[in-house]
């Protein structure tokens, strides 16, 4: 992967706050990252860390009451505060989104082909309905739906979960977007078909040359797919590195905890999984210091008092931790992903 050239997406100091009974609560806090053309960036973190909110904010899909500040340049155009009609023309055409639950993400009363054709004709009125249906059939074929010429006329309820998510992928790449945002694309699926759908997604990305933001809470899923990983916690990035580097040399205590909680297929029997104890903080009661401090086994006084900054540790490897210098080295073999990709 080359990292020269301009990023497709440059997010800078993005914050999103929701109005609550106790005033505004920040779900995303000063988020900054780049996505280069063709690159896959994974955003990983536990539930509630602000992964989805970040994606929805970029596309202008949050409720109007959400307060969004900062900047998101997509191919040089500012998305935040963009006029709704201009943004609408980018959605589904230059940026596509794949949602978590394929069961509910398709409209139940229209055929799959109809819904894929719609994303084509809506952005290019010169395409006839027949042509669009033909292209929908080809797209279904591309994502590995058997008998696409029959399946294209079927309704969502006639598809299995895995097939629906493939159809979702087909719809997302219909207009050859430059950026794909996949929000937990396999979370709702059976473990056995998760890997197949991830393969389809990677193939679809390859086919279109699109860059991808892959949002997931499952670090194990990103090993084979992402070029870079950013770990999010409490609305902030806690660690960012190339994928291999992150798995072999995780710096941040939160990342270490996440990696330890990945189930391994080649694990000896009897070894227990190690989920991180405790729960992520609620956005309406963010601690004064580091957001992870209450669950961190390495915390010191400074962690409770002030938030840490995201700082470069080695080239391209960033971590947000007060104690980076004093953390024990990573030599635990448990941290090295074996069958993590499954």
């Amino acid at each position: 992967m080359t990292t020269n050239g301009n990023p497709v997406l440059r997010v800078e100091d993005l914050s999103v706050a929701f109005k609550t009974k106790h005033g505004y609560a920040e779900a995303v806090r000063g988020l900054s990252y780049d996505v280069m053309p063709g690159e896959s960036v994974a955003i990983v973190g536990e539930s509630g860390s602000g992964k989805s909110v970040n994606a929805l904010a970029l596309l202008g899909l949050l409720p109007r009451t959400a307060r969004i500040t900062g900047s998101a340049l997509f191919e040089g155009e500012e998305l935040i505060g963009m006029d709704p009609d201009t943004l609408r023309k980018i959605r589904g055409r230059r940026i596509s989104m794949i949602f978590q639950d394929p069961m509910t993400a398709f409209n139940p009363v229209f055929t799959i082909g109809n819904q894929i054709a719609e994303i084509i004709t809506i952005h290019d009125s010169s395409v006839s309905d027949n042509e669009a249906t033909k292209r929908a059939t080809d797209l279904l074929d591309l994502v590995g739906i058997p008998h696409p010429e029959r399946r294209v006329h079927q309704y969502p309820h006639e598809y299995s979960g895995g097939m629906r998510q493939r159809a979702m992928i087909a719809m997302a790449i219909a207009n050859s977007p430059t950026l794909l945002i996949a929000d937990e694309p396999t979370t709702a699926l059976d473990v056995t078909i998760q890997a197949q759908v991830m393969e389809t997604l990677a193939a679809a990305q390859e086919e279109t040359g699109a860059a991808m933001v892959l949002i997931t809470h499952d670090l194990g899923l990103v090993a084979g797919v992402a070029d870079r990983v950013q770990v999010m916690y409490g609305g902030r990035i806690f660690e960012r590195a190339e994928t291999r580097e992150l798995f072999y040399n995780p710096i941040n205590p939160y990342t270490r905890g996440l990696i330890q909680s990945i189930p391994r297929l080649n694990e000896e029997r009897g070894v227990r999984l190690n989920p991180i104890p405790g729960n992520p903080p609620s956005i309406i009661r963010m601690p004064k210091g580091c957001a992870f401090s209450s669950r961190c086994e390495f915390r010191t006084q400074v962690c409770m008092d002030q938030p840490a900054e995201l700082e470069p540790v080695t080239d391209g490897h960033w971590s947000r931790c007060h104690n980076t210098a004093t953390l024990p080295p990573v030599d635990d073999p448990r941290l090295i992903p074996g069958g993590a990709g499954r």
Partner: protein, 319 residues
């Protein structure tokens, strides 16, 4: 689907029969023995007594009379009215049915259009002033007794008519000399029917639209870059129609059965009044005709609602 419809109709026949049996026996028992009342008739002579007993088979047990009533109905003969100068009930029924249609059809069209438009509007503008105002109006309509609203309307229009010395609308009865008179006489009863139905249907429609509005597939539709118009009118409306159409079909059946209260308040000669008058006059064949028609309509429109449901929602399979 045809097989399904046929099977449903066949299944409905016992239900309709049961309804007529219950009605027949209830009216007969409530009546007591008509011969006792006939016997007290001082102006009737012996031969008239015998003729009436024979005509209505009054000397036979109730179940035998029911069977012969049923036989007549199946061949299309609804019998003879005892309270309306021995007119054939067939004649009375179709005339009353037409009059009920004069109210039911316009009321239904207005209710359907209004409830659809208002539920879409309220769901899209949730928590706006308009939403609150319409909700308040709905609760008003839901809590208002029909007869009271009808009477208030009448009082207002009578005041209007008097103070302007000009008749805007009829407050009583059906006047069908010409189209203008017809409109002037259906306006108030139709308005009453509309108010009571539209309130409930709009509450229902608003709730189902809101559920749809917050669904995942609507978010997908937006993420595809569809215009707000297309999201609402194609993706939301099509789904909102599914539950609404069912309600509409059942509501239309109810309107067709004749709105007893509204027809009474406005002295409207429709089916509802026919039933009421028949009960008060213990006019067996008249009551039976209306009851039979009502149960057939209830069954047919329930079936119609289910068929529509199957057409609108691809997830439903009728078999």
């Amino acid at each position: 689907m045809l097989a399904y419809a046929l099977r449903r109709i066949l299944q409905a026949i016992p239900i309709i029969l049961l309804a007529t049996v219950i009605a027949f026996f209830a009216v007969t028992w409530a009546n007591g023995d008509p011969r006792a009342r006939l016997a007290t008739c001082t102006t009737c002579d012996e031969s008239a007594y015998d003729r009436i007993v024979e005509l209505y088979e009054l000397d036979k047990p109730t179940y035998q009379r029911y069977v012969s009533w049923l036989g007549d109905v199946v061949t299309g003969d609804l019998g003879i009215s005892t309270s309306q100068g021995e007119r054939p009930v067939n004649e009375i029924f179709w005339e009353r049915f037409r009059n009920t249609l004069l109210l039911a059809l316009p009321a239904f069209v207005i209710v359907a259009v209004l409830s659809l438009v208002l539920s879409v509007y309220q769901a899209i503008k949730q928590y706006s002033f308009g939403d609150y105002a319409l909700s308040a109006f709905s609760y008003f309509g839901l809590s208002m007794p029909t007869f009271f609203f009808g009477l208030v309307l009448q009082a207002i229009v009578i005041q209007l008519n008097n103070s302007f010395g000009w008749k805007f609308f009829w407050t009583q009865g059906l006047h069908d000399e010409n189209f203008k008179e017809l409109i002037a006489s259906i306006t108030l009863p139709v308005l009453t029917l509309v108010l009571i139905s539209v309130a409930g249907e709009t509450r229902f429609g608003r709730a189902s639209m809101l559920e749809i509005k917050n669904s995942e597939y609507i978010r997908t539709a937006r993420a595809k870059g569809l215009s707000e118009r297309r999201v609402v009118f194609r993706h939301m409306l099509r789904n909102a129609l599914i539950p609404l159409v069912t309600i509409w079909a059942l509501d239309f059946a109810a309107l067709l059965s004749g709105a007893v209260i509204t027809e009474s308040v406005f002295s409207w000669p429709g089916l509802g009044r026919m039933l009421l008058d028949g009960i008060f006059a213990t006019d067996l064949d008249v009551v039976m005709a209306v009851v039979t028609a009502l149960s057939i309509m209830a069954v047919l429109f329930n079936l119609f609602a289910d068929l529509l449901y199957g057409v609108l929602d691809p997830r439903i399979r009728l078999d």
